[in-house]
Symmetry: C2
Subunit: 118 residues, 2 copies
Amino acid sequence: MNKIYETSLLLDFYGQLLTDRQYEILDLHYNNDFTLTEIAEQLNISRQGVYDNEKRGRALLVEYENKLGLLGKFSQQKHKAQNVLEMMKKLRPDELGKENTDIIEKVITEIEDLANNI
Amino acid sequence: MNKIYETSLLLDFYGQLLTDRQYEILDLHYNNDFTLTEIAEQLNISRQGVYDNEKRGRALLVEYENKLGLLGKFSQQKHKAQNVLEMMKKLRPDELGKENTDIIEKVITEIEDLANNI
């Protein structure tokens, strides 16, 4: 997982445990592609202030995940749901029958929801 | 959800953010059915000390869930997986065909895992 995507997910999971300023800076940088210089201008604070908050905020997010591992747990569940979807794609529709086909369609919708909801 | 079950789940999710003492007391009380008096004797501290740690520890767990909502998110996913299992039980095995039956069996095993893994 690359650093930008990982931080964006961690921010989604644990962002509410950061200070408002840390959250704001990480959100601008990792979710909205602002450079640290652009953030400093935008928030009217020093580049060093942005850098320190970014570093500390990200370190906290990583620390929370190391302690709680909930992003890892969710990712595993998501991966499992995606595997199930792959398996269901191999079903032979010509051998299902009408009632079963209806059920399978509903099941696939639900599992797609599980696989994407993270 | 009753208080004991809820606290036990919260402890599983956020327990690593508590102090060792808070965790120990909540674990003994909510996972191992010790009374606060028994815990005081066991740890050789005052009953008031146990009470304060239990109260503060539980308040922190509730606060973390209010901020992050990850237990709620997990519970929803689990509920969805259980719904899918219920739907799959309505499949008519006599109209599936051999290959589809094999796939469905594997899928059910995976979804049971999703439904129970919380």
